[in-house]
């Protein structure tokens, strides 16, 4: 397991050194988004709607969701896609590390650095805007964080899957856009899915995105061990299903890939 562990560490280091500038922009972007969400909440509240949750809960929820989105190493899809298209992936097969696992670990390394930093900065920003901190007891935060990592695992598997599918689709980027939008819409990363009609909420929770997004993020303002366990089980099942599909896809690719496309 040592090479994989090192891959995680190297990517973590990379984020703090080489990718510092890009990461800084992500932080600025998150702060801008929280400011916009805050304005948005004020407008909804001024409209006298009863469906609005309190500002700290609303902003914390969106910060967790946005943090998950902004932590995503989306460039990985393009890198894997290029390796598949050019056939360079064949040279990776002879290495004593598993291609899928290595890419998965590299993605996780990025998440391990970005997620906690964005979360802390987001919470600081919320404090500046509302004067209050977390809407839940801080001792539950590690549990929420653990589930966030599981969500990150699902997102990482998704990226590797889409990247590898380049062998069949040639250009898998459009599918990546759709998956991204599914995360936004079905995962309730724009606004909590409780704002949606009931029938649509049910649809959202039938997909993995409902659990990776809304399921985890809603725990930040409405925590219960029962709910956390339900989210955990759903995430495990969806991760396992996607990992299984990924293994099958990778086996198929090993048979079909041609060097230099």
């Amino acid at each position: 397991m040592k090479p994989y562990f090192l891959a995680v560490l190297m990517n973590m280091k990379d984020q703090l050194q080489r990718e510092r500038g890009v990461f800084l922009i992500r932080i600025v972007f998150l702060c801008c988004m929280i400011l916009i969400f805050h304005k948005f909440w004020l407008v909804l509240k001024a409209g006298g709607s009863s469906a609005v949750i309190d500002p700290v809960s609303f902003l914390s929820y969106l910060t967790v969701g946005a943090g998950l989105q902004f932590s995503r190493p989306e460039g990985r899809v393009k890198e894997i896609e290029e390796e598949v298209r050019t056939g360079n992936i064949a040279y990776r097969f002879i290495r004593p590390v598993h291609f899928v696992l290595l890419n998965f670990c590299e993605c996780l390394g990025v998440y391990f650095v970005r997620l906690p930093i964005l979360f802390c900065i987001g919470m600081g920003m919320i404090y500046l805007l509302t004067g209050s901190f977390l809407p839940i007891n801080p001792i539950y935060v590690p549990i929420v964080f653990g589930l966030l990592i599981l969500s990150a695992c699902f997102a990482s598997l998704c990226m590797v899957f889409i990247g590898l599918s380049a062998l069949y689709l040639y250009d898998p980027l459009p599918f990546f856009w759709i998956v991204q939008k599914c995360e936004y819409v079905l995962g309730g990363l724009f606004f909590p899915i409780i704002f949606y009609p009931e029938w649509f909420q049910k649809i959202c929770l039938m997909t993995p995105f409902g659990w990776t997004g809304y399921g985890v993020a809603s725990l930040i303002y409405d925590f219960s061990f029962e709910k956390a366990l339900t989210v955990f089980l759903h995430l495990i099942v969806w991760n396992a299903l996607l990992a299984g599909a990924l293994i099958i896809l990778f086996k198929m690719i090993r048979k079909r890939v041609c060097v230099y496309g």
Partner: protein, 261 residues
């Protein structure tokens, strides 16, 4: 006249390149339309819960989104070369072959790449503006003015960001992030911004020219605001071209000559 013919041919070559992979070309267009509609549907569900957001109805939002998407689409269709492509050329010192052509560098690089997904954006943009119910024959010239100013703003932002590598080394990834950050911010209903934030978005960072002022002008027309909108957009574009030309003097060649159109 010969300049127009030259750029026409350049754009034609870009299209031909993109159309070389027919299925990918069509897939990109279709998925981009789907991508945009998914996001709009989420907002539609939101507006079901909150019929007005600071006096903006769903129709206003639809018009704004259509305008943002339509004006944005001009960039991938005609000037895709400006942006990450141009930034990489500057960073790697590969701009030499464009500099020796007796045509403007920006247009040459810009027209050298075409992204078919922009056509999907264009179609969605036109449909959204048309179905928003705000456009009639009498205000069509006004809408064309908005489109013109929107194109100027997006292009100017892109040119400004593309100039970053002249002043900051290895800033292409940062630049790309910043551009998409602006695009994302422009996608929220302009009515949520008020006070200083609105002033900021309508002066220093003119994304309010696309997401705030047009809908306000559709509600209550003001000739002064319209003149300001058009003049400021053109000035912003001129300023960005000036900054690029200034930055070009700092360009360092990598002594690499490539063949291009």
């Amino acid at each position: 006249m010969d300049k127009i013919i030259y750029y026409q041919k350049l754009i034609k070559i870009g299209f031909k390149q993109a159309f070389a992979l027919k299925k990918v070309f069509i897939l990109r267009i279709l998925f981009m339309i789907l991508n945009n509609l998914m996001l709009l549907y989420a907002w539609y569900l939101m507006f079901l819960n909150f019929p007005t957001i600071h006096s903006w109805t769903f129709n206003d939002f639809m018009f704004m989104t259509g305008l943002v998407i339509l004006t944005f689409s001009v960039w991938p269709i005609f000037f895709r070369g400006i942006g990450i492509h141009l930034m990489r050329l500057i960073e790697n010192g590969e701009l030499d072959s464009f500099l020796v052509i007796p045509r403007h560098v920006l247009f040459n690089v810009g027209c050298s790449v075409c992204d078919p997904s922009g056509i999907g954006d264009f179609i969605t943009g036109v449909l959204l503006i048309f179905f928003s119910g705000l456009v009639s024959f009498s205000n069509l010239p006004l809408v064309l003015c908005f489109i013109f100013s929107g194109i100027c703003v997006f292009l100017a932002l892109n040119i400004l960001i593309s100039s970053l590598p002249f002043f900051i080394k290895n800033s292409s990834d940062i630049g790309e992030r910043i551009f998409f950050m602006f695009f994302n911010i422009a996608g929220y209903p302009g009515s949520i911004y008020g006070g200083y934030l609105k002033l900021f978005f309508c002066t220093f960072l003119p994304i309010g020219f696309i997401s705030i002022l047009p809908v306000e002008l559709m509600h209550t027309f003001s000739a002064v605001t319209l003149i300001y909108l058009i003049t400021a957009s053109v000035c912003f574009l001129s300023f960005s071209i000036f900054i690029f030309s200034y930055g070009l003097k700092r360009y360092e060649s990598g002594n690499r000559f490539n063949i291009h159109y």
